[in-house]
Chain length 307, copies 2
Amino acid sequence: MSLIVVGSVAFDAIETPFGKTDKIIGGSGTYISLSAAKFSPKVKVVAVVGEDFPQSDIDTLKKHKIDLEGLQIKKGEKSFFWSGRYHNDMNSRDTLVTELNVLEHFDPIVPESYQDCEYLMLGNLAPSVQKQVIDRLKKRPKLIVMDTMNFWMDVALDDLKETLKHVDLLSINDEEARQLSGEYSLVKAAKKIMEMGPKNLVIKKGEHGALLFDKKQVFFAPALPLEDVFDPTGAGDTFAGGFIGYLAKTNDTSFENMKRAIIYGSAMASFCVEKFGAERLLSLTDKELDERVQDFIDLVQFEIELS
Amino acid sequence: MSLIVVGSVAFDAIETPFGKTDKIIGGSGTYISLSAAKFSPKVKVVAVVGEDFPQSDIDTLKKHKIDLEGLQIKKGEKSFFWSGRYHNDMNSRDTLVTELNVLEHFDPIVPESYQDCEYLMLGNLAPSVQKQVIDRLKKRPKLIVMDTMNFWMDVALDDLKETLKHVDLLSINDEEARQLSGEYSLVKAAKKIMEMGPKNLVIKKGEHGALLFDKKQVFFAPALPLEDVFDPTGAGDTFAGGFIGYLAKTNDTSFENMKRAIIYGSAMASFCVEKFGAERLLSLTDKELDERVQDFIDLVQFEIELS
């Protein structure tokens, strides 16, 4: 099934204890699309870049079979740019630069050829822009997944709550779940957030894995214990892309299949952190992905026979 | 198989956001024994209390089939006492009072009737005392598990490293693993710690579950997502008690069986936090335990068929 990915396609400049990059391709839409494209051959992007965005990066996305008809290129404007520096523990970072540029007035245009899409992934963007995309689809997709972050809870909470009413699944991290719900217990937080609209909730806990909720069940997926995390940038988006890419490929939105999708998303994220930016995603083979998923199975499988 | 548990048998006074207790029975030896006794009918305690320790608490332990021949009662002295207050998030606490009392000069006497034990659990105590118990056993047990805490890394690191050479498995939390190894990555920390002696390492991550390592494999057990944590006191010891109790009952120290033991330990710990102190462990039924283990299975099980 085809999948629309809305998000930022942008430049990042990253510093970690292991080194630093110049401006490289980044953004939620980039990571989600590259990760989803590993599963689904019909990933269609809605995004905006400036005139400064290099043709070589556009070619890279196209080479990975990503449909860029919905990528607007704004003459005379600059692409969104973020720069950050990770601390030694790699779990916290300082933002050094945020230049909204083309994102400041992003009007997400949905091409006619995208209208038949069954899956919609709303990557991290202003909630009002996410909502616009939903409104511009003539037929509601089978599944709408929304990612967001604490920033929008601080500056656009009402918009965020409005968009939340229209999505099927929200994907946020543990601190964001606590902020959005006002509950410390993630179980209580999940209940409150699902009352705001989404039937399902994914709570990402970084190195501690992820939880998937519906109103009756909970599933826990671990993160793979890694020797080194080289660069965490984009791991959450890569997780989301693998998750919805797997669902779109299998066209099954049951809780059981979402479990599998979370394992695939976690496997994709575990590759993402191995190199700077999206570099590792570009070279990833199917065989490597299968082996990594097997690592996840080995990590958590046990057999207990209850009487 | 029979199991020796060495640890503190003591008084705790606990304050949480939900209320406070007077002096109640606590201590690593108490939690470990009560938890292990759920599995193994031959739990033998080596510990010391003062004259102030009530007969009713001794009767409680005996009622749970715990052998107290190795429990010394010191006339004219007072039992170890700890008091603490948990913060609102229940993940951090302040120690209000620590009175070592009888623990200050604890000479762990191992009764002759304990000498045939196959399993030894060294609960949190001075590493030199833990080592003394090993030295006083005529035959080395099949499995020696050691628990410790950051306090001993601060004040008795050499003793701790010496004891570590003689144990099979060390159980510590993530921050302690980082402190002991000087490595932030838990995978790297595990490698370094296993080079210090133990063939296996358990890293407890509280609400984020636990990792089991040997030199070639890693297993991850989740913690059950809970609506409320009422009182975390003793959860780590209850986990350790369930772990070694299950191993002693099944008399199988393979990695596969250690996985099952960790799930049982995690299930026991999930009960412990439901009420103050050890209260919930005292009322726990086999049926409740089976149901909880099923919850763990449901929480992590998924099916993926790789080609």
